[in-house]
């Protein structure tokens, strides 16, 4: 199987899925599961392939080609895995979807598109598939809760993608080739061109990752997309931005080309600027996530924050931090995918994702709870889940370079993540079970599969992060960096090491000790959750007795409630519209005399400067 035929198959089968879904809703949805599994399987076979070239089609005078590489495989496998796991939810949502056939088709198209992005040999192919991913995901979002957010998504996304397009053609104009390899070689002679291209091209990555100040679309779109697509958006498609950043800064080796530039804390100032943006988005994402009432919005803001970690890691371009950033791509895909999926499961059963309307669901949906718990432990970067490995590497990378302001943001985001990940746990799963949800059941077995697999992967790679890091070190070597050092389960950085297996064993031992202590003590008597200390007062209504609204009100008071970036973008949009209205009144007025005036003005101006001809 080759990449080009895989993509052709994907495009054709997306049409097939559309027709099948028209015939039978469930059948089409099952086909998406089947095909995404097949795609995952085939992509998996490319694990060790690098440098194989496949040609897709001639596009006018250009040729679209694919090339396998280690970094492409890594991203592709993360994405297809996310798509595959999420697709298990599809069959159950067909009844609730407004346009299931289109949903399934676009789901497939965007999945195939991501593979195309990662395996692109040249920038044109990359851009084509990037845009395919954008518009195919774009049309899924309005099937959810909002008709405005896809427009915001498209606006910010197109700012990024068109900036990239501009950079691509600027490169083509100056280098004469779209080929990434050729460009990367040519750039080493032309740091000035590269500096411009770096900033214009990375905007695409930043917008897709949701880095400040382009983060506004992300919570809006992820929070209001259909429940089954939010995990793909957050766990998967955001990583496409990471890939663009990787291409811009690492595959085209910024650390070599810009070595002559001003170096800030060990990296070129260009990279440092992007890292600062990442740091700001960590802080903004964290602060905003803390105060969301809707669980999906909360997870979406946490994505903003975690994208900051990814971009910081990637921009470090060193042995340790880069590996951390790359590994965070996987960790965040699994963690945020699982978080979104568990809330999709809740929404499937209860019909809401508002935390204040939920509560106590652990008794009804224990498996969903377990998946969510494991995901948040990983997202908060607590051992022994896989999230700790990547955060540890990023911290070490920052520490060895002494980037204290970025470290400040990273630490703040890391501790702040305890706050926001805990809130849905507390408000939706723990606490009092609302009488409304007394008869809620665990989700069907097919929806449990992805939750179980994601949890398993999170734990497995938490205990053996070396498995992923070994592959990442291959990637690092292929782009000219020093590979991250691993010894068995020990992960070694210049500034220290840790052993994931030992931590797990010690934690397990501690837990066993505590359990022994627990079980030799007198047995506890189970009581109802309403039987709690209430100063002797009698409580009858679990809904009123559930602490879920304004959870961190006291903390939020410290930083207020102004969405300044959103307001700024709104203001810009308003100005554009006002300008349009002005054009309408000035050039398309009711009276003809206006246009006579303009025509006269045109002639006057031309004749003023006419003598210069």
């Amino acid at each position: 199987m080759t990449i080009n035929s895989l993509i052709a198959q994907g495009m054709i089968s997306s049409l097939l899925v559309y027709l099948l879904t028209k015939l039978n809703k469930k059948l089409g949805a099952f086909l998406t599961v089947l095909f995404s599994g097949y795609l995952l399987f085939v992509i998996f076979g490319f694990q060790n392939s690098a440098g194989e070239v496949f040609s897709l089609i001639h596009f006018g005078e250009f040729e679209l080609t694919f090339m396998t590489s280690h970094y492409a495989w890594y991203f592709a496998i993360v994405l297809t895995l996310t798509y595959f796991l999420v697709s298990f939810f599809n069959p159950y949502w067909m009844k609730k979807m407004v346009n299931p056939a289109a949903y399934n088709m676009l789901f497939m198209v965007s999945m195939v598109g991501t593979v195309g992005v990662f395996y692109a040999k040249d920038f044109l192919t990359l851009f084509i598939f990037y845009e395919i991913v954008v518009w195919s995901s774009l049309f899924i979002i309005p099937m959810g809760k909002s008709r405005k957010t896809p427009v915001i998504y498209y606006t910010i996304s197109s700012i990024g993608s068109f900036a990239m397009l501009y950079a691509i053609f600027y490169l083509y104009h100056s280098v004469g080739s779209f080929d990434i390899q050729a460009v990367s070689e040519a750039m080493s002679q032309a740091p000035n061109t590269y500096r411009f291209v770096f900033f214009t091209m990375i905007v695409a990555g930043l917008t897709k990752l949701g880095i400040f100040p382009f983060h506004t679309w992300l919570p809006a779109a992820h929070g209001s997309a259909p429940h089954t697509f939010s995990p793909v958006l957050s766990g998967g498609l955001v990583k496409v931005g990471g890939f663009i950043a990787l291409i811009t800064a690492t595959v085209i080796p910024s650390f070599k080309i810009l070595a002559g530039d001003l170096q800030l804390m060990g990296v070129p100032f260009e990279n440092y600027l992007i890292m600062l943006l990442g740091a700001v988005s960590i802080v903004v994402g964290t602060l905003m996530a803390i105060k969301q009432e809707d669980a999906k919005k909360l997870i979406a803001y946490s994505t903003v924050s975690n994208s900051g970690y990814i971009i910081i890691g990637l921009m470090l371009n060193d042995q340790v931090g880069f590996a951390g950033g790359m590994m965070h791509v996987f960790n965040h895909a699994m963690a945020s995918g699982a978080m979104f999926l568990s809330f999709a499961a809740i929404a499937y059963r209860t019909g809401t994702t508002k935390m204040s309307e939920l509560g106590g669901l652990i008794k009804r949906m224990p498996l969903t709870f377990a998946a969510y718990l494991i995901a948040i432990i990983s997202l908060a970067g607590i051992p022994p889940m896989s999230g700790f490995a990547s955060k540890w590497l990023i911290f070490q990378g920052l520490a060895s370079n002494g980037m204290m302001f970025i470290a400040l943001a990273a630490f703040f985001g890391s501790i702040g993540s305890f706050l926001y990940v805990f809130r849905p746990l507390s408000a939706a799963f723990l606490g009092q079970l609302s009488p409304k949800h007394k008869d809620v059941k665990e989700v069907p077995w097919m929806m449990q599969i992805p939750l179980i697999i994601m949890s398993f992967l999170t734990i497995f790679y938490g205990i053996f992060p070396g498995r992923i890091l070994a592959y990442i070190s291959k990637i690092q070597e292929s782009v000219g960096l020093k590979g991250v050092e691993i010894e068995g389960t020990k992960i070694i950085a210049a500034t220290g090491m840790w052993d994931s297996l030992v931590i797990t064993l010690v934690f397990g031992g501690g837990f066993m000790l505590a359990a022994i202590l627990f079980f030799i003590s007198p047995k506890a008597k189970p009581v109802d959750q309403m039987n709690t200390y209430t100063s002797g007062e009698f409580i009858y209504d679990p809904d009123h007795y559930h602490y879920a609204k304004n959870y961190y009100a006291t903390f939020e008071n410290n930083y207020g409630n102004k969405k300044r970036v959103e307001l700024f973008f709104d203001a810009v949009a308003l100005r554009v519209k006002e300008f349009g209205e002005m054009v309408k009144t000035m050039f398309f007025a009711k009276s003809v005399s206006f246009s006579i005036f303009w025509i006269m003005l045109f002639f006057t101006l031309v004749y003023f400067w006419g003598d210069k001809v």
Binding site: N531, Y533, G536, E537, F538, I539, Y540, D541, H544
Partner: protein, 196 residues
């Protein structure tokens, strides 16, 4: 309002309630006797005697006692004064939320016989009908010295295994405490959170 003669009298001290039998029991009682955490249910004027008992003047902590915020953590329920029917319900609820072994100390004459409120329509006279009181501290009000003395006595009782009110409550709940409680409280109709 139930009068005293409405209550059926039964022998509450039947059987052997002393739990200091084995070595482990004795050891446990040593710990329990040396660390008494107290939940004070301050209904009447008696509460004013507790701050000097806790703080520098008499320093309750030196014998291993301390105030606790919730019944789950506490060992002793200290009832410092008269109980109206409405507060009795709360006291019983609070008592039932405590962890066994748990002890009740009646504080002042109100808990013994109603004190100066003995003929009020709204107060109960004898706490022992409703909760198994291990120790009464008589007086109106008892001085902090008396309080300390009472606690010391309670500790001795615990170490000897004589403070067995909680076992009485378990054993005679059905035939004694529960009927007494219901008789006094009547049936409660629940309207909403704040109205019964």
């Amino acid at each position: 309002m139930a009068m005293n003669n409405d209550f059926n009298e039964i022998n509450l001290n039947d059987g052997d309630l002393n739990d200091t039998i084995t070595f482990w029991d004795k050891l446990k009682n040593v710990f329990r006797g040396n660390s008494l955490w107290m939940l004070h249910y301050c209904t009447g004027c008696g509460a004013v005697e507790l701050p000097p008992t806790m703080t520098s003047r008499f320093d309750m902590e030196r014998i291993g006692m301390g105030p606790m915020a919730t019944p789950r953590q506490a060992d002793v329920l200290l009832i410092t004064g008269y109980l109206s029917v409405k507060t009795l319900r709360r006291v019983i609820y609070t008592y039932e939320q405590m962890m066994e072994p748990k002890y009740v100390v009646g504080f002042g004459s109100c808990t013994l016989n109603g004190g100066i409120y003995y003929d009020s329509y709204a107060t109960i006279n004898k706490l022992d009908y409703y909760l198994p009181v291990d120790l009464y501290i008589a007086g109106c009000m008892p001085r902090p010295e008396a309080v300390m003395n009472g606690f010391k006595k309670l500790m001795d009782m615990i170490k000897k295994g004589e403070a067995t009110g909680w076992k009485k409550y378990q054993r005679h709940y059905e035939d004694y405490y529960s009927p007494n409680q219901i008789r006094s409280l009547g049936e409660v109709y629940v309207k909403d959170e704040f109205h019964e």
